[in-house]
Every structure is written in C-alpha cells, then in structure tokens.
C-alpha cells in the first residue's frame, strides 16, 4: 500500500506545528538520547549484548517489566473508575480526591519511597497486619508493586478525565432510548470512547514504572536476582565508573520500552483508522 507521506489537508498551521514539534523534540529528547546511543555505538553491539546477556541482568529486566505491567494494569482499571467517579458523581470530599491525584508526581520519589516503607514495613501501620498473616510487603516484590502503582497512579485518570468531561450526554440518552441497559451503554458506548485515552494512560504508566528508581530503592530490599530492579543495575555500573555497562543496560531498557510503546501506539492508530474518526 502506498500512502503519501502526508495527506493534503486544508488545516492551517502545518509548518508551525512541524517546526515547533521537531525543534523541541530534537533539543530536549533526541539529542540526549542520541548521545546515549552514540556511546553504545562507540563500543559496539556485541559488547552491549555481552553486558545484557547475564543471568542477573535478565532477572532484573524481567522483574522491572513484569511488575511494571501488573502495576500499569491495576492503574488502568482503577484509573478509569476513579476518573468516572470524579467527573460524574458528586460526593463529599470529591474535590480533595481530585486534588490529591497528582500528588504522586509532586512528592519526590525518595519521599514517596520513605513514606510507603514507613507504612508497609513489618512495624508499619499496614505492614503489621501483613506480618500477622505471615508475610512481608516491604522488602519483597509486593513492596515494588505498591511503589510502582503509586508512581503511575495519575496517568490513566488524568488522560481519561478530560475525555469523560467532553462526552455529550445525548449519546447515553440515545442509547437508553434505544432500549440499552445502563451496563450495556457503559460497555458498548462509553468504554470504546474512553479506550484511546485509557490506553495512552496505560502506556505512560507502564513506561514510567519501568524506569522508576527513587521510590523503589527504599522499599525493594535490592537483593540480587530477587528484588533487584534494572535501574539499580545501571546505578551500580555507574558506581563502578563503567559508563559503557551503564549505557548498555540503559539502551536495552530503552529498546524494550520503545518497542512496547510503539506497539501500543500503532494498535491505537490502526484501530482508530479502521473504525474511522469519531
């Protein structure tokens, strides 16, 4: 299929938006990441592979991506519910909750890590219950999961929320008039409208969790092969003054995340193209 690079459009502002987007993208993102890739290129792909292809690095990468996926899935479901509740329902404390959603970003990750560890350590407010039941939350993979849910909490909510605010009630009324139950309307009318935004939020939460270091380091325990996350390995390499090793792990994480995001974004655009623009 040969599509033109860009379809002719009567919309104004192409030049300006291309200019601003590409300039900023290059200055802020592409140049620094290019510097990292150059570093990788300077010592070659086999070297990068040699660094990555060890049991310990694989264990760390697998751990980081696996738990990030669980955290992002939780945030996907919870984020949609939260956004819906915040926009559609009125109840005491709604504004406070709306205000608090962004806080996981505002608290420096280390503070979040310390606060969460305080709560979930065996002598903490929640940790003591877990201790009675005979397991630990902090210093295990459960602790990592909690920290990653925390750092990714705002994404889905904040991407879905504006979409819900823009939904015209007529659509739901029309659906109801045609005899659809409320559940059916939610599932077949509302949810598809939220899907692109929710998927965006999911992708962002996933990406953010994979790279998270500051908060996880306090709650994880950091035992090699068990609770050691990939970003910690990068820090370890840097402490050894091994820039090549650090860049290698950084590049491999970047490649995996990039591929994951690309798939999610392509699925979104493809499905939208098939259904047609709303």
């Amino acid at each position: 299929m040969s599509r033109p690079l860009i379809n002719r459009s009567p919309m104004p502002g192409l030049g300006l938006s291309v200019g601003v987007t590409l300039t900023m993208l290059s200055l802020v993102v592409l140049l620094p990441i290019g510097a990292l890739l150059m570093k990788g290129a300077s010592f070659g792909l086999p070297e990068v592979w040699a660094v990555v292809n060890t049991e310990r690095t694989w264990a760390a990468l697998f751990l980081s991506f696996r738990i990030s996926l669980y955290a992002a899935l939780f945030n996907l479901v919870f984020g949609i519910v939260l956004a819906w509740v915040l926009v559609r329902y009125d109840f005491p404390g709604r504004r406070i909750i709306d205000a608090a959603v962004d806080l996981p970003f505002a608290l420096p990750t280390a503070v979040a890590g310390i606060a969460l560890t305080t709560l979930y350590a065996p002598n903490g407010f929640f940790g003591q219950f877990a201790k009675e039941l005979g397991f630990r939350i902090a210093y295990t993979q459960w602790g990592i999961l909690i920290a990653l849910i925390f750092v990714g909490l705002p994404f889905v909510t904040r991407t879905v929320q504006p979409v819900i605010e823009e939904i015209e009630r007529e659509v739901e009324e029309a659906s109801a008039t045609l005899g659809a139950s409320r559940a059916y309307t939610l599932r077949r009318v509302i949810l598809p409208m939220l899907a692109p935004a929710a998927l965006t939020g999911f992708a962002l939460a996933l990406a953010r969790s994979v790279g998270e270091y500051g908060s996880v380091i306090f709650i994880a325990g950091n035992i090699p092969l068990k609770t050691e996350i990939a970003p910690l390995l990068i820090v370890i390499r840097l402490e050894e003054f091994d820039y090549n090793g650090a860049a290698s792990i950084g590049i491999s994480m970047l490649a995996i995340s990039f591929f994951m995001l690309l798939v999610i974004n392509a699925v979104q655009i493809f499905s939208r193209r098939r259904i047609g623009h709303v």
């Binding site: 420096p108 705002p154 823009e166 270091y213 655009i269």
Partner: protein, 292 residues
Amino acid sequence: MSDTPAPQFRPANFRPVTTESPLTRWLLIASVVVVLSVLLFAPLIVVFAEALKDGVIEALASLGNRDARSAVLLTLMVTALALPLNAVFGVAAAWLITKFDFRGKAFLITLIDLPFSVSPVVAGLCLVLLFGTNSLFGGWMVAQGYPIIFAVPGIILATLFVTFPFVARELIPVMIEQGKVEEEAALTLGAGGWRVFFTVTLPNIRWALLYGVLLCNARAMGEFGAVAVVSGKIRGQTATMPITIEMLYNEYLSVAAFTMAALLALLALVTLVLKTLLEWRYADQLAATHRH
C-alpha cells in the same frame, strides 16, 4: 449559579438514564476512597505527620534559612520556565498529530513518549554525555563561561526532559475525540488559522490542556533522579527542593526534610486552585454542554 433547579415532578425512585444505580455508585465511590486511602492518603499523612512531629513552629522554622529559601525559589523558577515551553510544544505536537494525516504517526508519538520510559538516572546520564565537560559541545560551553551541567540550565533541561510528553499526551486523545469538523467549518466560514485555534480549538481542549499542565507542574517540581545527576547539589545554588529534602534527610533533620516535602505537595496543589477557579468561571458553559 444562574440555573436554579427547576421544580421537580419526579417519582421518588426516579433516576436519569445517564447515571448508575445508587448501589453501583456507592460501591464505586467506596472502592475509590479505600484504594486511595491506602495508597495515596496514608503516605501523605506520613509526610505531614513527620513534618509536624515537633509542632508547627518547629516545622515552619526549618523553612526559614537561606538554603531552604533558595531551594524553593530555584524550584519555582525552573518550573515556571519548563511549563510554558512544554505547553507550547504540547499544543503544537497535538495539533500536528490530530489535524493531519501522515505516515509514521505512531513513531512520532512513541518518540514523544520516550522520556517516560527512560529511567531518570539514564536521562541524567544522557545529558551528562551530551553537555558534560568531556563532550565536544559541553567543553566549548564551559570554556565560554556558560556551563550547562552542574548549573541551572542543566536542571531546566532535565526537568523539560522528564515532563516532556505530559501536555501533548493529554491533548491528543481529547483532540481525536473531537475530530476536526468544527475547525473545518470555521475555516469554510473564512476564519484565519489563529482565529480558529483561539476561538474553536482552545475552548474545546482547555480542560485537557489544564490537566496536562497540572501533571507537568507536579512532576517538574518533584523530579529528583535526573536532576540529581546534573545539579552538582551545591547548597544554596543548584539544590532544588527535592535535592534539599534528600540532603536534610541524610543529615538526620527529618522534620526539616518532611516539612519541605509537605510544602512541595502544597505547591503542587496551587495549580489545582487555578483549576477550581476556572471551573467557577466557566460553570455556565460547562452546564450548557453537560446538561441539555
């Protein structure tokens, strides 16, 4: 508000078709409150409790010194510079992606997302590799007397990097949802590009833009990892609030550390006050779009 409720002639168990049954509503609200209490409010309470451990006066006193003030100012300045730049970029990128059809769109969006998937530690490393004294450009800049790394520009660049996708990613789903019919209509009626943007597009995307800026603001003020690598951590000069918090904590000054963390949380809410004000300001329009 102008629209006083009309006299109601409804059966007691009347429920509009556009909402859920009371039981569902109650369950959803309860689950949200429970999860947020455990995951979000509890840590926040810990922060405030630690800050106020020795009383309000002690907490406030810890913010009084010169280093604390300079950290607050630096963080505010960095945020004030990063926000508008990211907002302009976000609007431009969202316009490009949603108003035009071109090949490689998924690729472009993924490039915009990329800063999130880069560990902050690596983000800092990237900037050091690009602008450090041992790099070509960085070395030249230092020779000219304008160092980037271990100075304020490096902190701004790191902040821009970690907050880069926020505004664009908030706007894109909303602008897709809205399509471009309204803009096309305005163009047909002879409106110019800027006029279309300001009178048609901007009012439609203002909430998404605001949410994007809210997130960007929070993250810009709270970022530690990437900034820590490029800041040099010089007290009173390149120490932002998160870096100062870490320093204080390591000095066993936990009251001062958590007070500053609490202040940071409160500062992040400033934009929220703005949002509430906007909601009042536009209450009529909101009512118009949502209630007919």
